[in-house]
Each structure stands twice: as C-alpha cells, then as structure tokens.
Amino acid sequence: MKKATILVSLLFVAAFLLLAVSPGVMRPFGTPETTAMDDYFIDNAQTDVAANNAVTAVVFDFRGFDTLGEATVLFAAVVGILALFRKLREEER
C-alpha cells in the first residue's frame, strides 16, 4: 500500500517534469530568447572587470556574493564533518 502511494507520486512527478520539458512548452535546445543579462556579461567582462574569462567575471564579480555563499557551504560541510569525527570526552562515549 505504502509502496503503491510512493510509486504513484513518483509517476506524478515524472509526468510533471516531462511535461515541463516537452516541445512546445520548453523552448528548443540552443535557442535562449532573453539574453540581455548574459550579453551584458559577455560584452563588458573585459571593460568592467578586465577579465578575459567571462565565467570567472560572473563567478567572482557580478555574482560574487553567490560564490561567498558557495565557499561557505563547503566550509560548513568541512566543519560539520570535523564535528562528526571529533574526539569525544570520556563521559560522551
């Protein structure tokens, strides 16, 4: 019974996702329509940031705050893992 419910919900999600990417709903591959933001990055990476690599310009300058968050996620994972494998006190064993 429980398994049937899970299967039905999985099929539901699958249908949902495939509907979203089906032709007519999702645009065809390789044809982005609204590209004003990305065109700005491509055109101005060299003048604004003086970086030849537009992706790095986006990662560290235009969206630098995301990268700070990303570094924080990794830091959180490291701290969490160190905490799990830390040395315990005698009374905590």
Binding site: A45, Q46, T47, D48, V49, A50, A51, N52, N53, V55, T56, A57, V59, F60, D61, G64, F65, T67, L68, E70, A71, T72, L74, F75, A77, V78, I81, L82, F85
Partner: protein, 150 residues
C-alpha cells in the same frame, strides 16, 4: 591497507604528484584568463592529496599532510575571501576595487596581473577548496581506519 598500495602505484604517484600540484596551481593562477579558477584548481590539488592518501595509506602521509595545518589554512582562505569582499565596502560589498585602475592588479584585460581582486579571490578560494577537500578526505579516511581496528 594502512600501509598503502603496491609499489607500482606508489612509484607512479611519486612521479605524477608534483605534476598534478603544478597543474592545479596553474589553473588557480590563470583563472581569470583561461578556463578554470579557484574551485577547479583547488579540486585538482586536493585530488593530488587524495591520490597520496590512497597510495600510501593514512599512516604513510603522517608528517606530510598535517590535519590541523590544513584546517587552519582553510579558515585563513575563507577569511581572506571574506576580507576581499569587505575591501570594497567603501562603495559596496564585493566592489572590485582595483579593476581597470592601471595600478596594482589593474592592468588591461589579458595580462596576468589584471582583473582587480579576481586573481586574489581565486587564490583565496583555491586555498580554501584544496585544504577543505583534503581535510574531508583525510578525516573520513582516518575515521574509517579507526572503525576497522575496533
């Protein structure tokens, strides 16, 4: 297992270890010019540490990779990145202070010392990622070994 793997693996590791490190540092250093950057280069360097760990075992790398040093370096990398963000706070957080000024790191696009704070951030993130992943791998390896002996 704690003694590491066969002599072939260990010899090959000795040969390629330096090259992987060099390549990783290259990727970090040229992040603003060529494909790559702090994260990618840091991951390459960390993979060299992981290779060392696999080849020589947890006991074999004692004294070579100090866990506490790695952790401190990771915190230093994170702090440096945050400090670079704070550097521009006169204008806005994460404002790129040096880019295009012509001075320090202000060369026009295409040179190694260009792009303002970007190369510095690449180094900070690279340091953070290489030490972070390395300490995850080492801690998990050492923890697993303890479990085997218990």
């Amino acid at each position: 297992m704690s003694k590491g793997m066969s002599v072939i693996v260990r010899t090959v590791t000795r040969c390629v270890y330096g090259m992987i490190l060099l390549y990783g540092f290259y990727v970090i250093m040229h992040g603003h010019l060529t494909p790559g950057g702090g994260f990618q280069g840091g991951a390459v360097v960390a993979s060299a540490f992981a290779l060392l760990l696999v080849a020589f075992g947890a006991a074999g790398i004692k004294g070579h990779l100090n866990r506490h040093l790695l952790q401190t370096l990771e915190e230093v990398g994170a702090l440096a990145f945050l400090a670079l963000g704070f550097l521009g706070i006169g204008t806005a957080f994460f404002y790129n202070l040096f880019a295009g000024t012509g001075g320090f790191f202000g060369a026009p696009a295409g040179q190694l010392l260009s792009a303002g704070t970007l190369p510095l951030m690449n180094w900070a993130v690279g340091l953070k990622v290489m030490t972070g992943i390395a300490s995850i791998v080492i801690v998990m390896m050492v923890g697993r070994r303890k479990e085997e002996t218990e």
